[in-house]
Chain length 236, copies 4
């Protein structure tokens, strides 16, 4: 697992029709282009069916969107960390609000990803569950109030205290676990605010996938991320 | 969706370490070789991460192991019929005993697979649930008593009445839905019996995946399937 | 299990605050009063915590809202048919759209209820899943398009073909399984139509629970049910 | 919510046939008798159908075995904190290994129980998940390695480090959250060890429910609990 330089922009392709199969290739190409041009870490979280297809064509980090808590064996229809690694993934989201799993399942999946050398990003919906997620030693925690997902109203603008509180609480339980911020992020300003509030990056979905000009949109997000990250670093 | 000629041998790779990634390629190669040599339809049901990898290299039918009942959109971590089709799958298993889904979910997933031109194989554990599955108009029903899965004790030998009853009950609700037989099938004789009891083929997993000589094993299964199918056809 | 005389009005108390604990007692009292006065079978489906409380005070049939597919044993947090029977229930709803369970789970739960002498009412969302539910030999099938639940727009008025088709399809798979109709039923006319379309009764929730005058409301429903049932009977 | 005096013995009745309905009454009577005689807090976690039945007859604390994360409303088949409180429960187990729920669901259910004045006991399977559970501010955490549940091999004897580590980790995240210890506890010595390792009590199931002489068995457990608690207190 390569270290990620911060800031990080994680693009969640979900199961959007535009972002599956050939659409996933098209959007991953855009993501890679912008990432290289601006020197910002951009990762894409894609359907399991697209992991190998993208990892064999692109250099940017490919993430799964979910992992089941099983190592290998008689688990028809489950997605394993072994399978993701074999397909060339660099890690996976876990416990997204659209695919919640149990507390023990998260703990086991984080461990199985680690065993395969893969990065784990555990999603949580509140500062309190972010803290609990942080206790499970994932590589990152992503806080996303589900009521804002897909709304275009960003958590960093509408409820900044959720972000700062999540950062504080995760840090209290494990200072080594960085926090990403998601839910409703749709403008460069949202990205700027999210990082200003103490996160190392953002989780973005429809604002990129549904954009009429994804390259332009992502460029704006990455520039804002860079600017906010630098501004914060200079203050520290 | 191409018509399948009968008999059919469906190989379920599950999440076995030997059958994921490069292992899946190796076993799919064996399956394709035997299929072509003997003229028996052999399909492989693989991890979603392997669908595109195999469909782009092989001609044999690639199946998913599970589909979620969502068309497209905000469904992080779900596997859609659209994604399977984009990855080159020809269909999918549904409701395997290791990945049960709800009654409505099966109905919706069958419909979504059909819409994408993909074949649906709904698994069921008893004659009664096979009948209910058959009522949902899938392309095939696979009956597998879960207590025999992975035991090496085949349902066709240990509980032949489960198979004949499943065939009868599915036929009573929809005569157009053929039945596959799974669970514990480990010898050519098991395959022969399964088809003799009225099914159009078998669902096999560990007996193939864990075999020391998968090509030899599969050849035996396919020869038995052919022989039983021909014997039954000549009697009809 | 006593035979139910038709028509039947099943009142689903859900987890409404007004219909839990002492509220459940109050509403069950209303239901029993109206039932006795008009001679219509009225059953109440209540939270498991209220089954014994009501069954020890009232004579009307008390139903559970959900049963888990386990006979007895190490099943912390599950609701068993044995427990419902011990608490005095006469049966249970199963697979309500707000508490979907798997195909095999429904089959097992129906069987376990039968073993305890309890009535099973399997909910389904479409004619097709109603047919599948009917194949599992429950005592009744209740068809409820979930998109209408709680809307006040009744399925019998807005989508009568769903009801007639469900009745037809359940009957095709097992003519002995009667059908109830739910979702959005809020006026006596809705009740009348539902029974006119071939069902033996209705499943009603918020229209009763949230009514300012539950006794008056239920009286209207029961009178309409009776009238429609008699009208249909006279035509047969 | 009355304060619990320590040590605490929580008896989980699960869905054992002997511990449902009239059996639950019989066992609760034993529990209350022993509790009063020895002055040890004994609580019983019962099927939801038995909560009201027992709370209206006994004074000992009655607990649910599971709560769904919903306040009230259209939640057919779910068990709410409101319903438990109305039925006279004093609290509930949550996330038992036989009824796992999601991370967010635990957080919400703990909050809803608190709102109703009810005690929450969140179960966890490892020290790490105990820590995460502790981060969610429940009233207690119960650590139970699922592989030992029902085995008769107690965690306090077979894997004492799991208990001490769980106590340490829960305390690190919230020193105010006491820990219970479960899984395989079947002798007074197991109880003694569990409390000696830093817990405030034990979670016991089959050893009590299946005992030929439950009163004698529970007396032994309670005496050991008292003795160990006093010995530890005198050392502190």
């Amino acid at each position: 697992m390569k270290r990620w330089s911060y800031p990080v922009v994680v693009l969640n392709f979900k199961a959007y029709r535009e972002a599956v199969g050939s659409g996933a290739e098209r959007l991953a190409y855009v993501a890679e282009t912008v990432s290289k041009e601006l020197g910002v870490t951009v990762a894409v979280a894609v359907q399991p069916t697209d992991v190998h297809r993208l990892s064999s064509r692109f250099e940017l980090p490919i993430l799964g969107q979910h992992v089941d808590p099983h190592e290998e064996g008689s688990w028809t229809g489950h997605v394993t960390a072994v399978a993701l690694r074999e397909a060339g993934a660099e890690g996976s989201l876990l416990n997204h609000s659209e695919r919640r799993i149990g507390l023990s399942e998260i703990a086991i999946a984080v461990e199985l990803l680690r065993k395969e050398g893969l990065r784990s990003i555990v999603c949580a919906d509140t500062p309190l569950t972010s803290k609990a997620a942080g206790a499970l030693r994932p590589d990152l925690v992503a806080v996303e109030p589900p009521e804002l997902i897909g709304t275009g109203i960003s958590v960093s603008k509408a409820r900044p205290e959720v972000v700062t509180e999540a950062v504080r609480m995760v840090s209290s339980v494990d200072p080594g676990v960085p926090v990403l911020c998601g839910a409703g992020i749709s403008t460069p300003e949202d990205v700027y605010r999210a990082i200003e509030l103490g996160t190392v990056g953002v989780l973005i979905s429809s604002a990129f996938v549904k954009s009429k000009d994804p390259q332009h949109t992502l460029t704006g997000f990455c520039q804002a991320a860079l600017k906010s990250h630098e501004s914060r670093s200079s203050r520290l």
